[in-house]
């Protein structure tokens, strides 16, 4: 396989879009293309990650629409839908196209406009990825699955609500340094957990998870430009290699897993990505994990191999996952505070890590970051894509 590089990255601010879906996608694609500075080098394919435009925005075939919006005809175009892992899946498809020699330059854009409908409908839309006969028809939603998962995890490993709150506080703090984040609102332990008013400020959503344990509903778009080694060399820009991608699946219904607290797909996808990259978790300088719920940042960081099982919450308590810690997790603010437009999230994670590796992450820059890891968590852990990036010195 040929090596593949990310040569350009761009995104919109997450939050609430004032423009239509395809314009929103273009608003990330254009800065990514400018960042890549391709000149006369053509784009061979456009891949769009999106989970719900057919239902939420009444628009399908978004990749074809984006090609038209960008006047990029006659490039190849296809849309990728893989639940909340659509973004990293789309990058994987682009990676495969270049690695196989089918393409030299691929634009991958993730986009989602979830706020086009009200909160109840968007919750139902997201819940439609759950197992239809065993989960969805009984009213299971993603927050309720996460609540049950959190309860088990806390009972088994001694995780407390204060640890979940520490994750939320950290990610809100990080987002304050990220101009692209949906939420620019610092929060405090007193305000969300210990003050008498905290019960009103931070009401339960699905016990033991409360409002500030859950990501917001966001619109947004993110894009990366992937290129072959020849093109990356011609461009002369900092080289961020897609060093390894791993993907794994698990049972659709969470209750069918032998141990529901074992995020097996995260474990297997991460191991595969590390093996392909020739790296191990201890080699990683910065990570973006899929913290749709605070408990997931803790559990994924263990399943990916950064901490022993049952130990991550102690690392959070010691501040090891802060921007200044040993292993910064979610410098962007994560899904928790940067936001979670589902189809865009996996791409946005790689945008952040590309900026980190190129030294372009301004106020949240991790010093001397050379390796990075992302976990894009689909369904409730039944389809996971892990990606390892590496900065290559020229």
């Amino acid at each position: 396989m040929r090596p593949v590089y990310i040569v350009g990255a761009g995104m919109t601010r997450f939050g609430r879009s004032e423009v239509p879906l395809v314009d929103l996608a273009a608003m990330a694609a254009l800065p990514a293309l400018r960042h890549a500075n391709l000149g006369k080098i053509p784009v061979d394919a456009v891949i769009v990650a999106n989970m719900g435009a057919g239902r939420v925005n009444r628009q399908v075939a978004v990749a074809s629409a984006l090609v038209d919006r960008l006047s990029l005809w006659p490039v190849a175009a296809e849309s990728v839908e893989n639940g909340p892992a659509s973004g990293a899946s789309a990058v994987k498809v682009g990676y495969q196209a270049i690695a196989s020699g089918m393409a030299d330059v691929v634009l991958v854009t993730g986009v989602e406009m979830m706020r086009a409908v009200d909160g109840l409908e968007v919750t139902d839309f997201v819940a439609s990825m759950s197992q239809p006969e065993a989960e969805y028809i009984y009213g299971v939603t993603l927050p309720s699955l996460a609540g049950m998962f959190a309860r088990l995890y806390m009972d088994r490993y001694g995780v407390e609500r204060k640890h979940l709150a520490l994750v939320a506080i950290k990610n809100h703090d990080n987002a304050m340094k990220n101009p692209y984040a949906h939420i620019h609102q610092p929060i405090t332990m007193e305000g969300i957990l210990t003050a008498p008013e905290a019960i009103v400020n931070n009401p339960p959503v699905a016990e033991p998870l409360h409002m500030f344990d859950c990501c917001p509903v966001s619109d947004g778009s993110a894009a990366v430009v992937l290129a072959s080694e020849d093109v990356a060399t011609k461009l002369g820009a900092p080289r961020v290699a897609v060093a390894g991608i791993g993907q794994a699946t698990d049972t659709h219904a969470v209750h069918e897993r032998q141990d529901p607290t074992d995020l097996k797909a995260v474990r297997l996808a991460s191991a595969a990505a590390f093996e392909r990259a020739g790296l191990k978790p201890s080699d990683i300088d910065v990570t973006e994990l899929h913290d749709a719920f605070t408990i997931l940042e803790i559990a994924e960081s263990e399943a990916a191999g950064f901490f022993k099982v049952g130990q991550a919450h102690k690392a959070v308590e010691r501040g090891e996952t802060k921007l200044t810690g040993k292993l910064p997790i979610n410098p962007s603010g994560g899904l928790k505070a940067k936001g979670h437009p589902v189809g865009a999230t996996g791409v946005a994670q790689l945008v952040e890590l590309t900026w980190q590796l190129r030294g372009e992450a301004s106020g949240r820059q991790i010093a001397k970051a050379k390796t990075a890891f992302a976990c894009n968590f689909g369904g409730f852990g039944n389809n996971v894509v892990a990606t390892v990036l590496r900065k290559e010195e020229r």
């Binding site: 949906h182 620019h184 929060i187 009103v200």
Partner: protein, 231 residues
Amino acid sequence: MASVTDLETLLRPPAMEMPPYPPKTITLASGEQMVVRQAGREEMPILLEAIYPLLLVERDYYDIVAARLYAELLAYKRYRVKDEYVLVGLIDGVLAGLVNGRLVDAKVGMSYHTLTIRRGLRVGSHLFAAKMEYHVETCGQEEVLIVAESPIGFRRWMIEYPLDKKYEVQHELGGVPSWVLTRKTYFDAKPRLVAGRRPISAELLAGAQTIRLPGEETVRRQVMGEKGGRA
């Protein structure tokens, strides 16, 4: 022939004795303190100034809430509404939101509007709760009539408390028939929805004596959906 003063007397609704709302302070998720206090008639001009930029903001029905609230505050300022009151939420003296309503009689309250400027911190939820607290605890009323003009309001009041339908009564805001908060509903909901501490320190109270406004651009930015963003 009646004098101008006599005529004005006829135009002004007769006022009922209304107890003052005792100020309180609430620790928000951000750790900031929001002082909730009653705003006097003399403070209406600055509140009208705060609302004015929102008259054309369609998002989340701010336009209709702002337009109606503007009229209600103006009517209060110029003595054209009976027994109205206004509560404000202030963070470091800066207006974070306001609520208003009036007393129909000694037993029945009429909730008018809740308008949040600083979004993402449940300011509106806290202020609405303070409004219910005023009707039920401070004034000792039996029930408060309520309607919602936005889906957000419907979720916050009708579902979260939850309120009962009282469709046989038409709310003063027109539109849909009334919902009602009874004393029982209020006290059942109080542990999870009504927050705040009293008495508040002289220092906090002094800082909340003068209402300051966030800039017009900040107001628009905050209500347009940005979560957080300090004024």
